[in-house]
């Protein structure tokens, strides 16, 4: 049943009751008192919404597998013999019975340095590299990571790393130095929460971590594209000190790739931010999707702002800084996490 039909049924239901003693005059009249018009709206005069949307976009493109992976590597580095226990392949239990290969840690233990490992993490890396960057043909790399876990690493007085969820990412890259050429595409799909200083540096835009369900993909070098689908909650109002969550459903073709029908000044879709009162501020750039056949909006970096779903008029935001090197894939060495890194020798 669609929402529209549900609303219609509700309205009809009211009409019936109304006929049994209600006022009977407005039961089926959805065009009467518009409850939406009575929604209290926040005072936005003190807000710098363009800055907020820029920060939101920056924060979202940083949400991905790289953060829990960094935490995992840090946790592996701090391990000691026997704490935690490492496994060849997935650890025991039903959770990962459909997975194979890779390596894992699983334990509930305390190291001699008073670090407590509790839970598990399984990971797998697949790398393929061919050729050399020193040749005109260059080097072709395909790299993938997969990470699933539910675990924490804590010291005596603080949490160092916490991760619960699953994610995977992939990098495809061609690079040569003579002639200089580099093209890459990267995507990350993640559902989970991550926090802790092993995953987030103190100067990270989202130092407290996040909980997210997000697909992010972007490319660079010979092409410039960006796609975001999903949501993230940053635990704190890290965006302009006011907004703690972002929802995005957008695609964008950058200046390098933009064709005659593309707009490099704005994405297609919606970028939403949520304040601490749970009020959503949606910035909608038409057409709302790449398949929208409606009248295209002007290519001017301006969208329609909705607060709590109510049209607030046009808001112009220059988000194009995203094409100035903000979008960077992980380095190849970031994909390396082998048995030798675990330090199992002996």
């Amino acid at each position: 049943m669609t929402r529209t039909s549900l609303l219609l049924l509700l309205a009809l239901g009211c009409a019936d009751e109304g006929s049994n003693g209600g006022d009977g005059g407005s039961g089926s009249n959805l065009g009467g008192d518009d409850p939406a018009e009575q929604l209290p709206l926040p005072d936005v005069a003190s807000l710098n919404l363009p800055a907020a949307y820029n920060a939101a976009l920056d924060a979202m493109v940083g949400v991905g597998v790289s953060r829990p992976w960094e935490g995992l590597r840090g946790a592996v580095d701090l391990s000691q013999a026997g704490c935690p226990d490492f496994y060849a392949g997935p650890p025991p239990g039903d959770d990962l019975e459909d997975f194979e290969g890779g390596a894992a840690w699983m334990d509930s233990c305390v190291t001699g340095g008073a670090l407590t490992y509790d839970g598990y993490a399984w990971w797998r890396t697949d790398l393929f590299a061919e050729g050399s960057t020193a040749t005109p043909e260059g080097q072709v790399v395909e790299a993938q990571r997969q990470l699933i876990g539910q675990g924490t690493l804590t010291s005596a007085d603080e949490g160092l790393f916490s991760w619960a969820g699953e994610g995977s990412d992939a990098l495809s890259q061609v690079e040569s130095m003579a002639p200089s050429y580099k093209a890459w595409s990267y995507s990350s799909s993640l559902k989970g929460s991550v926090s802790g200083q092993l995953a987030f540096a103190a100067d990270d835009p989202t130092p407290s971590g996040w909980r997210a369900d997000l697909y992010v993909a972007f490319s660079g070098g010979s092409t410039e594209t960006l796609s975001l689908r999903g949501d993230a909650y940053f635990f704190e109002p890290v965006i302009e000190g006011t907004f703690d969550s972002v929802s995005a459903n957008l695609d964008w073709t950058g200046p390098l790739s933009a064709g005659p029908t593309d707009c490099a000044l704005e994405p297609i879709g919606t970028l939403s931010i949520r304040d601490q009162n749970a009020f959503w501020y949606d910035l909608v750039f038409l057409p709302e999707s790449s398949t929208d056949t409606g009248v295209p909006a002007a290519c001017d970096g301006c969208g329609t702002l909705y607060i709590r779903g109510l049209d607030q008029g046009e808001l112009c935001v220059d988000l194009t800084h995203i094409w100035n090197g903000t979008l960077q894939p992980p380095q190849l060495e970031d994909f390396v996490l082998s048995t030798r890194d675990i330090g199992l020798e002996g």
Binding site: R3, A36, P92, S187, D231, Y306
Partner: protein
């Protein structure tokens, strides 16, 4: 490369979330209105809640229920099963006297599960052949290195659980760092050199022996 599809279906809304929230608030308001018409909203004509809190949304996109499908971790201070993995091999360097341009040799992988030394759960042998890597492509402290082809000559590789076992037909780039007595691996050709084997060079025989050994937990399906 075309970006792969997401591992999981995202729950990203395809319409404006606040629109959706407003519609649900409409619905809530209509429902409340249907319940005898009492205005309990404290000034809100249609009984709308005073604030737009997350509880009022059917779907709160900023607070997705993170249900990864996993239960609570099971404490396991010692694995029920272990596998001792040993990789041991030898390079014969030629031509004698150097500079070395080719290498031949072997690599044995042996895995002992739960201490059953007499019954290795995996025992395979690779034949190795390699040609030298140009000096400019070597790691900083590497004396020489080879692109080594691994060819499985004996055993069932599928029995081996070593996460970093080579596949037959694989070419790996390894280089000798005499100061560290280590063979370094260009990890799958990425240009990232990491210490891979402890090595021992016999300068007289011009042979390089190398080994790596580790014990890890392992999941073994229990027989019914």
């Amino acid at each position: 490369m075309t970006a792969p599809p997401p591992l999981l279906p995202t729950t990203a809304p395809t319409s404006r979330p606040s629109d959706r929230g407003a519609r649900y608030l409409w619905a809530i308001g209509l429902l409340l209105a249907c319940k005898g018409g009492a205005d309990t909203g404290g000034g809100s004509a249609v009984g709308l809640p005073p604030t737009d809190t997350a509880e009022n949304f059917i779907y709160d996109s900023a607070n997705p229920e993170v249900d990864t499908g996993f239960g609570a971790p099971t404490a396991d201070e010692t694995p029920d099963h272990t596998v001792k993995i040993t990789q041991k091999g030898l390079w014969a360097l030629t031509p004698r006297g150097g500079p070395y341009s080719t290498v031949t040799g072997y690599l044995e992988i042996t895995e002992i599960t739960d201490g059953l030394e007499d019954e290795p759960s995996c025992k395979v042998t690779f034949g190795l052949t390699g040609e030298s890597i140009p000096a400019e492509e070597l790691c900083a402290d590497c004396a020489y290195g080879f692109e080594v082809l691994y060819y499985l000559s004996d055993g069932e590789l599928a029995d081996c659980m070593d996460p970093d076992k080579p596949e037959t037909g694989t070419t790996l780039r390894l280089a000798w760092v005499p100061g560290a007595n280590r063979l370094y691996l260009d990890y799958l050709g990425t240009g990232v050199w990491i210490p891979w084997y402890v090595g021992s060079l016999d300068a007289v025989r011009e042979e390089l022996a190398f080994t790596w050994e580790a014990t890890m937990g392992v999941r073994i399906e229990e027989e019914e």
